[in-house]
Symmetry: C2
Subunit: 383 residues, 2 copies
C-alpha cells in the first residue's frame, strides 16, 4: 500500500483514572504525540472509542477531542468497532493518508470505564455481541469466552492451567512498563487458584477494563521526507469481519476474522507469519490469545496454548506476545487498546522498549471486537 509512517506517539498510563474524563485523557495523549511528531496541526483526527455513550452519556466524542486539543475546525470523526475501535481508527488513518487527500492525521484511542461499576460494566461490554440473539439470553462477553475456552479444553485435550502462561507472560512484561496497570508478576499457583468468573475463565484469565488514551501521528511519504530513515512505517493495514454471533460460525474454535484479517495483512506486506518478530495480540481472555496465535498461523489448531507452555511467547521466544503487558497486564481500555498496541510496537521497533526490548524488524498488532466479529491487523517495520 501507499507508504504511511508513524512520526509521533503518546499515551497515558492505563489506570482507574477517577479524576480524569475521557476528553482529558484523549487530549493529553494527543498533545504528547503531536509534540513528539513536531507538527502543529493535522488534516484530521480519528478517534477510536467503544463506550463513551454508555459510560458517560457522551457521543460525538471526536469533535469534543478536537476542540479541547485546541484544534476546533479540524476534521474529526469517531470510529467504533467494539474492542477493535482503536485499531479500526488506525486503519481509517491509514486509508486517509493513503488517499493522498490527508498528509498528517492524528489517531487517538480513548476509553474511560471507571465511572461504571458492578453489573453496569458487563452491560456495557455486552453491547459488542448480538443483542437480539446473544445478550438477550444473558450471555455476557466473558460467558461467550467461557464457552469457547470450555470447548477448546474439551476438543484439544488441554488443562485450564495450560492457559496460565499467557497471563504469567503478560504480567511479567507489564512489570517493566510504567504505563501498565498491573505491574506485579503472577505464578501458576496464583492462576490456578484465582477466583472463578465464568467457569473455566478466572480472574487471571481476564484482562481488566480500564481508563486510558493513546495517540499516533501518521503522515505520508511526502511529509515524512528525510525522516523516513528514522520513522516506523506501517507496511500493512487490514480488517475483516466474521459472523457476529458465536452460534453462527461454522467452527467457533477457529476465528475466521482473525485468519482473514491476518492473511490480508501478510499479503499487503508480502510476508508470512514466519517473518513476524513480535505480536501484540488481543488477550482480553487467555482463550483469545490461543485462538489468535492459531488464526494468524503461528500455531496449528489446538496448538496455540503450547506456544505458552514452551516459552515461545516470551520476549526471547519464537514469537513474543504482549511484550509491554498486553491487555492482561497493561490493562484493556476497550476502545483505546488497539492504539496502545500500535504505540507499543513503535516503542519496540524504535528500540525504546527498555527491559522488554525485543530484537526485531517486523511487528504485528491485532485487535478483536466482540467475540471475533471484527478483527483489525497492522504490521509495522522498524526504521
Amino acid at each position: 500500500m501507499t507508504k504511511v509512517y508513524v512520526v509521533g506517539i503518546g499515551q497515558t498510563p492505563v489506570r482507574e483514572h477517577w479524576d480524569r474524563s475521557a476528553r482529558d485523557l484523549a487530549v493529553s495523549s494527543v498533545l504528547e504525540a503531536i509534540e513528539q511528531a513536531g507538527v502543529e496541526k493535522a488534516d484530521a483526527i480519528y478517534v477510536g472509542n467503544a463506550l463513551s455513550g454508555e459510560v458517560a452519556g457522551q457521543e460525538h466524542l471526536a469533535a469534543l477531542v478536537a476542540d479541547f486539543a485546541g484544534m476546533a475546525g479540524t476534521e474529526a470523526v469517531r470510529i467504533e468497532a467494539a474492542g477493535a475501535s482503536g485499531a479500526a481508527a488506525v486503519r481509517m488513518g491509514c486509508l486517509a493518508v493513503a488517499s493522498g487527500l490527508q498528509e498528517v492525521v492524528i489517531v487517538t484511542g480513548v476509553e474511560k470505564m471507571s465511572d461504571l461499576t458492578g453489573p453496569a460494566v458487563e452491560e456495557a461490554l455486552v453491547t459488542a455481541t448480538d443483542e437480539e440473539y446473544e445478550a438477550i439470553h444473558g450471555l455476557s462477553l466473558v460467558a461467550l469466552n467461557a464457552l469457547l475456552m470450555r470447548r477448546y479444553i474439551y476438543e484439544h485435550h488441554v488443562e485450564r492451567s495450560d492457559f496460565a502462561h499467557f497471563s504469567i507472560n503478560a504480567h511479567k512484561n507489564a512489570s517493566n512498563n510504567e504505563y501498565a496497570m498491573f505491574r506485579r508478576p503472577i505464578t501458576v499457583d496464583a492462576f490456578v487458584n484465582a477466583r472463578m468468573i465464568a467457569d473455566p475463565i478466572s480472574l487471571l484469565d481476564s484482562a481488566p477494563v480500564a481508563d486510558g488514551a493513546a495517540s499516533l501521528v501518521l503522515c505520508s511519504e511526502k511529509v515524512v521526507g528525510e525522516r523516513a530513515n528514522s520513522a516506523v512505517e506501517i507496511v500493512a493495514s487490514a480488517a475483516a469481519t466474521d459472523a457476529m454471533a458465536l452460534h453462527d460460525r461454522g467452527n467457533p474454535l477457529f476465528l475466521q476474522g482473525v485468519y482473514e484479517s491476518a492473511q490480508r495483512a501478510y499479503a499487503q506486506a508480502g510476508i508470512g507469519p514466519e517473518d513476524i518478530d513480535l505480536f501484540e495480540l488481543h488477550d482480553a481472555f487467555t482463550i483469545m490469545g490461543a485462538l489468535s496465535l492459531e488464526g494468524c498461523g503461528f500455531a496449528s489448531e489446538g496448538e496455540g496454548v503450547r506456544l505458552g507452555i514452551d516459552g515461545e511467547i516470551a520476549l526471547e521466544g519464537r514469537i513474543p506476545i504482549s511484550t509491554m503487558g498486553g491487555l492482561k497486564g497493561r490493562g484493556h481500555p476497550v476502545g483505546a487498546t488497539g492504539v496502545y498496541q500500535v504505540v507499543e510496537l513503535v516503542q519496540q521497533l524504535r528500540g525504546e522498549a527498555g527491559a522488554n526490548q525485543v530484537d526485531g524488524r517486523l511487528g504485528m498488532a491485532q485487535s478483536i471486537g466482540g467475540s471475533g466479529a471484527t478483527v483489525v491487523t497492522h504490521i509495522l517495520k522498524s526504521p
Copy 2:
C-alpha cells in the same frame, strides 16, 4: 480529488418501523443498493449510526450489518459523529475509494429511534452535546436550538413566523416523496399555532426523529468504467468541526463548521455557492436551515430566512432546499440522515425525482452533528 462515483442507491421509507430492527432496515437498503449497482461484493462497508447503543444496547453495528447482508468477512466499521454520522460515513467511503486500496464500498446510514419514547428520546439526542458543560445543566438539543433561534430573532429583527417557509417548503416537497414520513402540506397558520416545544421552537420547527436506512454503492473510476457517463460523481467531500459547546463559540449565530466545511468542498470542486443548483441541508430545526444557508454563502448573516420568505428555496427558486422533504418532511433518522440526503441528490441528478425534479447539474448535501460541532459536506455532479 480522485474520482468517486455513486453507482447504486437504496432506501427504506422513513417511518416509525415498530416491526423492524436497525439491522433489518440497514440490510434491506444495502441489498437494494447493491442490486442496483450490479455488484455482488464490496471491499468494505461503512455504517453511519448515532444511537444504536442508547436505543437498543447494540454497539458493533457494522459487523452485524455485514453479517446479515450476507457479507460476513467483508471489512466493516461504524462511523459516528452524532447527527452527521451518515454523512461522515459517506466521507469515509470517499477517502477509502480515493486511497486506491478499495474499489467498491458500501455506505449505509441507519437509525432505529422508535424503541425510545418520551424523555428517553431527548436523553439520547443530548449525547451529541457537551455532556459535562451543556447536557448536565439540562440543556437539551432542542433547547440549544431554541437559544440560537431566540438570539437570531433578536439580533436580526425577524419574527418567529418568518421561519415558517422552511417547514412549509419541506412538507410540500415531502408530499411527493413516497419514502417521506410526513406527506401532508402545512400552512403558515398551522406553523404559527403549532404546539410550543422549547420557546420559540414549536413542533413545526422541529424535524421528527424516525426510523430508516439508506445506502450507497461507491466505486472508483477504474470500476465504473464506461458507466462513468451515466453515474453520479462525488466531486467534493469535506468535513470540519467547531467548538463543541455553544458557549465556546465566538459568534454562535455564525456556524463556523458549516462555513469551513462548505469552503473546503467548494475548493475541491473548484466552484462557489453560485454554482450549486440544489442543496440538501440539515433542517433539524428551522433555525439550522437559516444558519446553514448563511454559513454556506447562499445568504449573508441574518438574511437566511429571507430566502424562505422570498420563495428562493422552492423547487423553482434560486437555491432549492429539502427537495425531497428534508429532515422536516422526510423525517430525521439521526445517523441515517446524511446518507438519505446523498441518495436524494442522486435521484435529483439522475432525473429520477418525479414531481420534485429540479433542473440542475450540481447538488450539495450537508449534515450537522450536535449544535454544529461536526459538519460534513458533499457536492455531486449529474452524469
